[in-house]
Symmetry: C2
DNA sequence: TCCATAGTTAAAGTATTCTCGAATTATAAA
DNA sequence: TTTATAATTCGAGAATACTTTAACTATGGA
């Protein structure tokens, strides 16, 4: 996987159709789904579906693999994980967070998996493994 | 806070400047920062900064509060938390995830805090308390 | 009151993204 | 072969989003 921009990942998910596709694949788990199944569930025209699938693939959130005439898509869980880690990393300057902010509480657990890539004032890239 | 769309939250974060603003505020913690301090750190023209601050405010990711001549912004941690919960909710159909997918592992911990709002094929809203 | 500062809003131009029909590629079956 | 199916790429129009200058509002101090 390439070094990628967190903003790019978030922008990719920041669209109803792409988010729906991604959630479908997250729910489906490692087995994933065929493109046609996704298209049926979401009733998207083939060209539109393909556009969004390739966008999600490009940023590394999903992965497609041809199987005979079909293409089999699955979520890239590690990318999602890196993204979540990025969002919560260095939360509250690593001080103890307020009771409500569970997001911060998980930061420590994720930290070990985190590839450090963000500078403090210009957060930019996530290097995946 | 209003019922909001997860895609809207993600789209709001899916822009370099807004993500940088948000991360700055996440790092700053509950104390937050003045708008002017954000502008200086990121060197954004006032109008541009204001545009992005109001976008982030509108979707509920940050909050601004006037303090004399300054406006004091802080991250809405609960919104970020809801968003992360949404992303990982129902991951792998709640089966045990592969070793790598820590995002799934945290789903259970977050579930208790989750306001159920997503339908399976058309994920849409996050109701924040 | 008048001026300076912090920040927002308005408006308009520019750029980017989204959608979907039509054409195209890849595979498989008749 | 020829035909059918699964999916992608092309291309052009429509819709959104981004940036910026200029004008405006709000607050505080001289």
């Amino acid at each position: 996987m390439e070094a990628l921009n967190a903003a790019e990942l978030l922008a990719a998910l920041g669209h109803e159709s792409r988010l729906a596709i991604f959630r479908l694949l997250v729910e489906a788990g490692p087995e994933g789904l065929f493109a046609s199944a996704i298209g049926e569930k979401l009733t998207l025209p083939p060209a539109t579906l393909s556009f969004h699938l390739s966008h999600l693939s490009r940023v590394g959130l999903i992965r497609g693999q041809r199987e005979s005439r079909f293409i089999h898509y699955s979520a890239e869980f590690s990318t999602m994980d890196d993204l979540i880690a990025f969002l919560t990393d260095n939360c509250c300057q690593n001080e103890v967070c307020l009771p409500k902010t569970a997001a911060c509480a998980t930061t420590e657990k994720r930290r070990s998996r985190l590839v450090k890539a963000s500078t403090r004032t210009a957060p930019t890239a996530i290097d995946s493994e």
